[in-house]
Symmetry: C2
Subunit: 326 residues, 2 copies
């Protein structure tokens, strides 16, 4: 492996000049530049990234801290990696599996200057503790944060859910069921609020027994349908709004298996508008996740390079995509 010193000696110039060539400084004569570039080529020279990082005090690496990578994160991850790379940054994955100690590893790596900044998804550590790492570098959250120190690009799902509710009511559905995820999450609370408000607005009867918690994935969606069908005499909902598209897929799949017609016997609305909803033709609420990832990156850049012109956050909105299930 050749290094800058060798290039300097061989070319007869100093390390400083060679460095200038490397960094395209204008203060190098064309002749000198040519000589040095030629030698670099001959020696198959490339600068050592670590040395640059140490010297400059920045790694051009951003850590992404999450419990684990799943379908919902995919567009966020892909978009973030892509945006970062366009701006010369690489993305390092830190998965915690829900283990608080492992999660802290990402934050410690910020402290140790292995990464310049951090994006966090759902974190399990105390938010105050996480916030204390702000002094080591910028951090931005995808999840909604109670903490003001860590800015968030998350959107209020109240708006998105309201869109879904208005849509199904507009279509004539009145017996509305909710398939919620984690009951205590801010998302569920926001959605429930939207549900309560709209039922009141249209003077529709609230069925508390039609709000289900802990419905996360395909299987729970399927089970939900079976549960609903268990008692033949009971009145049944005519539409289910889901916490995500996986749940919606499970519901649609099981409903068809039970020979229910979708949407005639049971309508379904997903959430996030993922590939799955597109593929299966499920009405869903578009959640601009990829754009949120972009915003997250630009937020980090703005505090990483305070001198440069700030990139403004893109203003994002939910949006209902009607397909064959409503």
């Amino acid at each position: 492996m050749s290094n800058l010193d060798q290039i300097a000696k061989l070319s007869g110039f100093s390390k400083a000049t060679v460095s200038r060539v490397l960094n395209q400084s204008p203060h190098v004569s064309q002749a000198t530049r040519d000589i040095i570039l030629k030698i670099m080529n001959e020696l198959d020279y490339v600068p050592n990234g670590n040395a640059i990082s140490l010297s400059k005090g920045q790694t051009l690496q951003i850590g992404m801290c999450t419990e684990g990578i799943n379908e919902v994160m995919l567009p966020f991850l892909n978009s973030f990696v892509e945006t970062a790379s366009q701006n010369g940054y690489q993305t390092i994955i830190y998965t915690s599996g829900g283990d608080a100690k492992k999660e802290l590893q990402a934050f410690e790596d910020l402290r140790r200057k292995r990464v310049d900044a951090l994006v966090i998804s759902t974190c399990v550590n105390d938010q105050a503790l996480l916030g204390s790492y702000r002094k080591y570098g910028p951090i931005v959250a995808w999840q909604r944060m109670e903490l003001p120190e860590i800015p968030s690009v998350a959107m209020n799902q109240y708006d998105g859910y309201m869109l879904g509710l208005e849509h199904v009511i507009g279509q004539g559905y009145t017996r509305i069921a909710n398939a919620f995820g984690r009951p205590s999450s801010m998302n569920t609370l926001s959605r429930f609020k939207a549900y309560q408000e709209i039922m009141k607005k249209y003077d529709l009867p609230v069925h508390p027994e039609w709000s289900f918690n802990g419905i996360y994935s395909i299987r729970e969606g399927e089970q939900l349908v079976r549960d609903l069908l268990k008692d033949d005499n009971e009145e049944r909902p005519d539409v289910i709004l889901c916490s995500n598209d996986l749940v919606a897929a499970g519901i649609v799949s099981e409903a068809r298996k039970q020979l229910l017609k979708v949407p005639e016997d049971l309508a379904v609305v997903g959430f996030d508008n993922t590939e799955l909803a597109h593929s299966l033709g499920i009405t869903s609420i578009d959640n601009p996740i990829a754009a949120q990832a972009k915003n997250a990156f630009h937020l980090l850049m703005n505090s990483l390079n305070p001198s440069e012109v700030k990139v403004h956050q893109e203003k994002l909105q939910f949006c209902l995509v009607k397909r064959a299930t409503t």
Copy 2:
């Protein structure tokens, strides 16, 4: 930010000794160690990761180069990140989006010593070119490689497909259709070979028109069913073997929509045995992807630390998981 030099000065010991404390060298008296650790604590000191990397000549970072992250890669990515982190390595994502130049970025980063090693998934650059980067560090592939320089942890899908074929024939299906992916891929060739051999073995009629190419995802699976149903008079296959579980999901979903009974009217076998197959109750061929990721990491470790005891590759096998679609 405090550094090792400050700790040395404040404690009255040399940098060398402080470094020894950091690296748990046994050649430090307990008293000295205590003093130094105390000062480190007081100053909230952590060593700078970049400096360590530069000095040691290793980054403890491994690059993962892929076209993009999708559902199929998920278990590989998760398992690799997890295994690496257990061994003190972080994983950096490089997505190319199929762009050869962007893909090379990962390999250049190996050359520039930003990563110690590389795992590659489907790569678009010339394999010989990629192989030439072996001199900069170990590389292991997930895809099957023609090149001997780059070892691969991929498995021969002939074996897995054969398992599926034997299964459906054992169940009494004889009108077998194939939903293949990319026609020229080694995987498709292996699968087709298995198909040909088994049809011969059981003396079953080969229907060339029942081998479909370019069937990658849910939507193509759905379309395939509609195409099959188009002509009422035609004889139809009684089972379809799919290139992956997404395709199988699409087929099952569309079949039910068209009021075909699965598996009575049409049986379906997926591939990879992903969450989706599990969730939807689709018979699938288990592809031990997570274990392949582990193998990939250990392969890299073996050449990264030739001195240490070699971790043997886990011997992996496909395995049929029968569910409700056969």
